[in-house]
Amino acid sequence: MFKKIIANSMTKSPWIYHVNTGSCNGCDIELVACLTPRYDVERYGFKLAGTPRHADIVVVSGPITSQSKDRLLRTLEQVPNPHCVVTIGSCPQSGNVFKGSYSVEAPLEKFCEVDVAIAGCTPKPEAIIEGLYKAAQILKKKREAM
């Protein structure tokens, strides 16, 4: 019973840690827009966490510049299990227009498993909410598998 409560709580209290890896700030703004009174993802218990140790969902935006790659990987290693990695926008998935640059390391899939990809450039806040909601369901599955 206790395990079930914990598994259910996983979907209802996902804390987000946001990593900007050289994003143009478009996706970052839209993610923050989700926290504003208009979209208010706190309704579902989503909260921006200050440190990766508290995070359940790591949200990555930006094309993963060479400078930020090591920091991103170090951040991801510090996130306690179960956790999800969500990419916002095209950049972390493919590099977008920065593709082929000497200083861009995208896609993120080269370095870690990506659970949910939210497409758009930038995605609407609604799409981000959908993606985070999906990630929360995956968190539950991961917890049950633990």
Binding site: S9, P14, G50, R53
Partner: protein, 326 residues
């Protein structure tokens, strides 16, 4: 043999008091609900819907289900023990409060002084845990936590002195039961106009004690990433979060005992007392939420100055008035 049985029963009763009512379980549920109400009302003050009131429960259980990472730079023993120390001291504290109609589990002549000490223990536990985590952010956080403690301890002592003097007259009364009994006959302390500055000062101390805006300098999420809690994850973090919630509950309980006192409810003492207690606790927490809603975080030096001038001044006014017999 009956002697041993009676002893065993005594131990069982104490254990029940500590673990269930009015100890750990009651305080935890009450504290988490208060935290939920705080978040919900705050959300509505910002014209959004906000999380469900039981959200802190979800947070707590989720954190319990997360992996606990102990950083390489941490001292594992102290790192894991720190939240437990805080939790124990907080659940012990609940035993001293006479809740409307219910007399305190542990009565004493000077329990107010014990509470004063017990109140510092969660903060000290936070400092110990933070310093054991070995993070520089935690270092900044604990130094701030210490300054905040210094800031609010002085006015808190002055408020308690004023209350003790008011109740006891020439002899200071440091017993919560005594204060409660005095209010049963003489009416709420809050309605004694000489005590109003002290009550205000106490209301201003609660946010600093609990660590909410504008006095959350030690845990500033956006600034130093929750300060002492930065490296914590999983169950220890859950317990720290629980500590904060229980502390909120304890502080509101203390406020209601000190200033709202006791009312003779006759035969409805069991339920009525609890309802009154909850109402007073919620009202107290709403005052905090209201302050939270329209202020931004202070700088640490401003916070210290504020407590040692404005809050301490308010407490001093009360103390002086009480000293002159008003």
């Amino acid at each position: 043999m009956p002697d041993i049985l009676a002893r065993l029963l005594d131990v069982l009763v104490v254990a029940l008091h500590v673990l269930i009512f009015p100890g750990l379980l009651f305080a935890a549920v009450g504290g988490l609900l208060l935290a939920g109400i705080d978040r919900k009302v705050l959300a509505h003050m910002q014209r959004r819907i906000g999380p469900p009131i039981v959200q802190p429960f979800y947070d707590f259980f989720k954190l319990m289900g997360k992996e606990t990472i102990i950083p390489a730079a941490a001292r594992p023993g102290i790192y894991k023990a720190a939240p437990i120390i805080g939790l124990v001291s907080l659940s012990l504290m609940m035993l001293f409060f006479p809740i409307f109609g219910h007399s305190a589990a542990f009565g004493g002549t000077a329990d107010l002084i014990v509470i004063l000490y017990l109140l510092t223990i969660p903060a000290v536990a936070l400092i110990i845990g933070g310093s054991a985590s070995g993070s520089p952010f935690a270092g900044v956080g604990i130094s701030r936590e210490m300054v905040v403690m210094l800031g609010y301890e002085l006015p808190l002592v002055m408020v308690l002195l004023a209350v003790a003097k008011k109740v006891g007259g020439s002899a200071l009364v440091f017993s919560l039961q005594g204060i409660s009994d005095w209010q049963l006959t003489n009416g709420c302390l809050l309605f004694q106009w000489s005590m109003i500055p002290a009550a205000l000062a106490f209301l201003l101390i609660i946010p600093a004690e609990v660590g909410t805006q504008p006095f959350d300098v030690a845990e500033a999420e956006t600034e130093i990433c929750e300060g002492p809690l930065i490296e914590y994850s999983g169950a220890p973090l859950a317990i720290f979060k629980l500590n904060t919630a229980i502390k909120m509950f304890v502080m509101t309980a203390l406020f209601s005992v000190l200033f709202l006192g006791d009312i003779n409810l006759g035969q409805y003492w069991l339920l009525g007392g609890l309802v009154l207690f909850v109402i007073s606790a919620v009202l107290t927490i709403l005052c905090m939420t209201f302050i939270h809603a329209f202020t931004a975080r202070l700088k640490i030096e401003h916070l210290f100055k504020f407590y040692w001038t404005v809050v301490a001044g308010l407490a001093l006014v009360s103390l002086v008035l009480v000293w002159f017999g008003l």
